[in-house]
Every structure is written in C-alpha cells, then in structure tokens.
C-alpha cells in the first residue's frame, strides 16, 4: 500500500526499468488475452452510441417541432426519450465502462484475462437485455420510472450479464499478481459491488413488488443518482487516474489525496439522491439529508480535481500531441465542473428555480457526456491500438471527433443550462403566463434554447460518426494485417 513514486512509475511505465522487456512482454500478453471480449464490448457500445444519438436527435427536434414523426406510437416523444436514455446509459456508457474496467483490471492486476467465456456471456446477456428493453420501451412497456424504464422481462438479462462480470472481476482481483493496489482498482472494485446491489434493490422495491406510494420515489432517486455516482463516476475516475499518469509517464501527484477522494466519495455520494425531490411530497428530513450530502461532495470533487490538476501541472503542452490526454483532461475538468454545479443545484434556493427545468437536463449531460463519455472515448483511443496492434487510420478523424463533441457539448450545457434558469425564473413568476402564442410565456421563451440544443446535438452526432468511421476502418486494417506476414509495428503513444 505504501507506494513510493518510483514504484508507481515502474508499474505504469515498465519500459523505463531494467526488466522493461519482460514487463513489456507481459503487457502484450495481457492485451492479447483481452482482445476479443474488450473489442466486442467496445464494438457493441459504439452501436448503441449511434442508436442512442439517433434517438437523441429525434427527441431534441420534437421539442421545438412537436409534429415531427408524431403520428406513430413507437416514435412518440415520451417513448423515444427513455429509449435515448437507456440506450446511451446502459448500451453505450455502461458497456464501454465494462470494457475499460476489464482492461484496467487485467493491467493493474498484471494478469492476462482469465475465464474469457464469462465476459463473452456478459456481452451476450447485456446486449440482449438492452435490445429487448429498448424495443419494449418503444412498444409502450416502459415501467414509467426514470432510469429504470427497461421492462421487467428484460431486466433479468441485464442482471445476469452484470453479475457474471462482477464475479469475473472478483476472481481476477483474487488471483492478481501485483500486490500493489492502485487507486483505480479501489474505484473499480467498488463499482463492481455497488451497481448490482443498487440495481437489485431498485428492481425488487419498485418494479417487482412496489413499496407504498412516495417511498417508490425515494428508492427511484436513491437508485438513479447512484447509477451516476457509484457506477458511472467510479469507472470514469478510475480511467482518468490510470491514463493521465500513463500518458505523461509520471506518477499521480498525491497518494493520500487519491485515498481521501475515494473514501469521501464512497461516504457522501450515495446519500445525494433525494435532492431530486426538493419541494416534493416527502419528509423534509429526507431531502435535507441529501442536500447536506450533496454539499459534502465538494470534498471528493475538489480533492480529485486538485490531484489530477497537479499531476498535469507543467505538462499541459502535451495536450497538443496526445488526443487521449485531451479527452481525459476535458473529461476530468468536466467532472469537477459538473459536480460543483451539482452542489449548487441541490441547494433549496437554487433548486426552487432550476428544478423541473431544462437546467437539470443540461447538468445530466454534463456529467454523463462531458465527463464520462469523453473519458470513455479517450480510453478507447488508447486501448484499441494496443489490442489490435494496429494504428488508428486517421488522426484527422480523431481530431474531428474531439472538437465536434467538445464544442457541441459545451454549447449544449451552457445554452440549455442558462435557458433552464430563464425557464425556472419565469415559471416562479405567476405574472408570466405558462403558455401564450403571442405574449412571452414560460413555454415559448425556451424554444430558442431548444433549437440551439438541437444544433449542438448535430455537432455531437458528427463527432460520433467520425469515431465510428475510424473504428470500422481500424478493424478493416486489422483484418488485412492479419493476412499479411506479421510485421512488428510499434504502437505509438496516441
């Protein structure tokens, strides 16, 4: 546990030491063993990303052009919107997260992937679960619970898929060859354990045998906020903690700050959920507890932010030549920003205005996308060439991906976030009509913001297409390279 900076450096950059060649061989063995399952997870997550993006655009257009695709039940707003959420959260984000977690786990435990068939089963069950779930939602079988819309006939598949993965994680951890525990492993282990608990508890208490009345809402938001806090966030932070030092070739700034960050997140984040119910029909103590816990989130967020920032210190020029670093740093900064914004939104006086408005949507995208999705993209750009031993075919497409998504999501968050505040201020002023075709009203004032949001969505979609083209292209290169006699090309530091 008491890692000196040198030992961390050795773990992260084996080639710098005398037994570098052996270490390099082990890494190569690990990467080869991970190839099939991780590529399957990344490939399917990309498919869900594209499907989810299409749903997102349809949803967004409908907000200012309500008659667009309005005549079919399957494509009505209230079904496409949860289809978007579930395909990006469970299809894309979770699956990419599983892939990254898997690879990180093998690398940090220094064990080649064992029991690969378990992971292959995870891929089958997970994708089947998400696919049946999305079709179910479009068919009108949504449970009507936010973040838990997937109908009960699809959820067991998701559960089995995840349980297999968690089991694999624990076995790999048990048989690890590296006794040092790196901070990323703390986050990964915790996420593996927390998510199945959350998911099972939520399914039993509000889908299978619902508890009474508003207690459902408490369970719902305990779950929904924790999907972000205890599943998505730990994976994202584990990746940032690994990749920033890895790309820079220097250790994390402070071991103690990273421990403080982890345990304070574990302690406070899971109490946050009830701030989604401010002003609602639940006991005041319950909501107050969550607001306090939300404010306490400042500790892990600032700690992690400082730690990452000081690791980067003096190396910001590296952002120019490393796309992986660019995605990671964008994601890391977004994490700090979105979390502090979240603290603000949880306060009663702020929530009075922003609750029930597009501000919440902007905030959710800042966390899920500007932080997590960007970190996943960066991780995939780093991992895939090492698994396939082939370079990314187009650096230009990677640049396009980064800038389209970075600019797109920044416009999205700021414009919609601001629009939401305007909407909330108008809504709390009873002199402003809720809807009026001529006079300014709550509904009509939001429309310009919603239109700009659609445009930023198109920009993000262009970024995703660039990513998809590069991904298919590298696969084609890999297949072609497999036919030719093997030439050992060094993998550049993307």
């Amino acid at each position: 546990m008491n890692e000196s900076p040198q030992s961390v450096l050795r773990v992260l950059s084996p080639a710098d030491t005398e037994d570098g060649m052996q270490q390099r061989a082990l890494l190569s063995e690990i990467d080869t063993s991970c190839r099939t399952p991780v590529m399957l997870l990344f490939g399917f997550s990309l498919v869900w990303l594209l499907i989810g993006t299409a749903f997102a655009l349809v949803t967004s257009f409908k907000m200012h052009a309500p008659d667009f695709l309005g005549s079919t039940a399957w494509l009505t707003f209230g079904r496409v919107r949860p289809a978007h959420l579930n395909s990006v959260v469970y299809g894309f984000a979770s699956q990419a997260g599983i892939g990254v977690a898997l690879w990180l786990m093998c690398r940090l435990c220094r064990t080649p992937l064992i029991l690969g068939w378990i992971i292959n089963l995870t891929v089958v069950f997970w994708n089947l679960g998400v696919a049946i779930g999305i079709v179910g939602i479009l068919a009108g079988d949504s449970t009507g619970l936010e973040w838990l819309e997937i109908p009960p006939y699809a959820t067991p598949m998701l559960f089995v898929g995840f349980a297999l993965f968690a089991l694999w994680g624990i076995i790999t951890f048990r048989y690890r060859r590296e006794s040092h525990l790196y901070i990323s492993q703390f986050y990964l282990l915790a996420a593996l354990f927390w998510f199945p608990w959350l998911y099972t508890a939520a399914q039993i208490l509000i889908v299978m045998d619902p508890v009474r009345g508003v207690v459902q809402a408490a369970v719902n938001w305990w779950f929904a906020h924790n999907v972000l806090g205890l599943w998505i966030t730990p994976i994202g932070l584990a990746a940032i903690y690994y990749f920033i030092p890895k790309v820079l070739g220097r250790p994390v700034h402070s071991y103690y700050l990273s421990m403080l960050g982890f345990w304070s997140l574990a302690l406070f984040y899971n109490w946050n959920g009830m701030h989604h119910l401010v002003g609602g029909p639940l006991p005041a103590w319950l909501i107050t507890v969550s607001i306090v816990a939300s404010a306490m989130m400042t500790i892990p967020v600032v700690t992690v932010g400082i730690n990452h920032h000081l690791t980067m210190w003096g190396n910001f020029h590296r952002l120019k030549d490393s796309p992986v670093l660019r995605f990671m740093v964008f994601g890391g900064m977004s994490y700090t920003f979105t979390s502090l914004h979240g603290v603000l939104l949880a306060l009663r006086s702020v929530s009075e205005v922003t609750h029930f408005t597009h501000s919440t949507i902007a905030h959710a995208h800042q966390g899920m996308y500007a932080f997590f999705a960007m970190v996943m993209f960066g991780s995939i750009y780093y991992i895939v060439p090492r698994l396939l031993q082939v370079e990314w075919p187009s650096a230009r497409l990677i640049r396009l991906h980064f800038w389209a998504c970075a600019i797109g999501i920044t416009i999205y968050v700021f414009v919609l976030g601001f629009g939401g505040v305007m909407q909330g201020l108008a809504m709390n002023n009873p002199d402003v009509p809720f809807l009026d075709p001529v006079k300014p009203s709550v509904v009509t004032l939001t429309i310009p913001y919603l239109k700009i949001r659609s445009h930023s969505g198109i920009l993000i979609a262009i970024g995703h297409l660039a990513f998809a083209v590069n991904f298919v292209w590298i696969l084609i290169r890999w297949i072609k390279a497999g036919r030719k006699p093997q030439t050992t090309t060094p993998v550049s530091s993307v």
């Binding site: 009505t76 209230g78 048990r174 959350l198 459902q216 029930f356 009509t444």
Partner: protein, 203 residues
C-alpha cells in the same frame, strides 16, 4: 491481499448506510400509510382509481407523459405552484398511496397535472387536445397523439363521438376522427386527477 477485505467492508458499509437512511427509513416512516376519513366531508381519502381511469393511468405511463408533466404541488412560498392555480394546497405522501408506479415527475415542459381534473373538466377539450394540442392550445409544443384515435370513413351519418375539428385541422371530406378506447381511458384518468381533499397534514 491484506487490504482487499478491508476495502470490501468499507464499500459495503458506505452503501449500506444510505440504503438504511434513504430506503429503509422512508419505508418505516411511510410504508404502511393508510387512507383516512376526511372530517369535513366524511369521505375516505384517497380511494383506488376506477377501472377505466386505471387503464388511462397505464396509457399515461406507456407514452411517457411524465417526461414533461409533473404531478406534485410544491408548498406555498416555494415556487409559484399554488399561485399558478396548479393546486389549492401542497401535495403530501398520502395523495399517492395507490400509484404504481408513482409518477411525480422531474420536468415541467408542460404544466403540472396534479389537479388537471379540477382545472379542465371538459372531456371533449381533452380529446381534441390529445389528438392535436394546437387545436385548443395555440403555441403548444406538446406532441400530438393521433394513434389514440381512429380515422374512419363516415357511414350513413357522423358518429356521435367524432371530434369536432376546426376548419384548419379538417380532414378530407367523408372522413371523421373517433377516439379509440385508449384515448377515452386516458381522458378518464386525467379527469380523475385531483388532490384537493383537505388532509390535516397538508394544511
């Protein structure tokens, strides 16, 4: 491995704490709440919904109305819910005893619907509004729900329940729009939405 079990205990206890606090405690406090007799009227409140309204509740759930409409009235002095006439009083836990799932909502792209059954009592208005919101509500961005209706060739005479469409929304001659059972059920549900019983805890 020395620290492995310790980490597990830590991550177990942290989540266990919020499970007790945010799941178990509300269940203990509110999980066995019952309907009460309202002193002023002598009626039992709340009561389970009628069969047709319950079917409408399922249509409301299936089509994701929750993503734009909340069903909760915030207390006086917190937001303008009561000043906007969205309710005469705040909503409390007892108002939701029979909802499975509870659809409080987190978004108000459209107005709150807790008391829509008191605000808009005309079934004909609701049917037109569902068929195409812009018929009765100019400038609305609510999606239309034509799939809850049926476009029929007019028989010997106009069906009694055919929608009375204004000229700019009129169909080609010889056709009419009649609500399907789903539309009727949904309207019945909307008309049933009222949380105005004078509960002691909501005063």
């Amino acid at each position: 491995m020395r620290y492995g079990p310790l980490i597990f205990v830590g991550i177990f206890l942290t989540l266990a704490s919020s499970w007790c606090g945010l799941v178990l405690m509300p269940q203990i406090q509110l999980g066995r709440q019952q309907a009460v007799k309202i002193e002023e009227t002598g009626e039992i409140y709340p009561t389970p919904r009628s069969g047709l309204a319950q079917q409408g509740f399922e249509i409301y759930r299936a089509n994701g109305c929750i993503y734009c409409h909340s069903q909760q009235v915030r207390p006086e002095g917190f937001g303008a819910d009561i000043l906007r006439n969205w309710g005469q009083r705040r909503t409390v836990a007892r108002d939701y005893l029979y909802d499975k799932p509870v659809m409080l909502g987190t978004m108000r792209t459209g107005p709150d619907l807790t008391n829509i059954g008191l605000r808009q009592t005309s079934a004909a208005w609701h049917l037109l509004h569902l068929y195409n919101p812009r018929i009765v509500s100019k400038g609305s961005i609510m999606p239309p729900f034509p799939f809850l209706f049926e476009k029929k060739k007019i028989g010997s005479r106009l069906s009694p329940d055919a929608l009375k469409l204004p000229p700019e929304f009129a169909l080609e001659p010889g056709y009419e729009i009649v609500p399907r059972p789903e539309a009727r059920a949904l309207v019945q549900y909307l008309l049933s939405l009222k949380a105005n019983a004078p509960l002691p805890e909501a005063k």
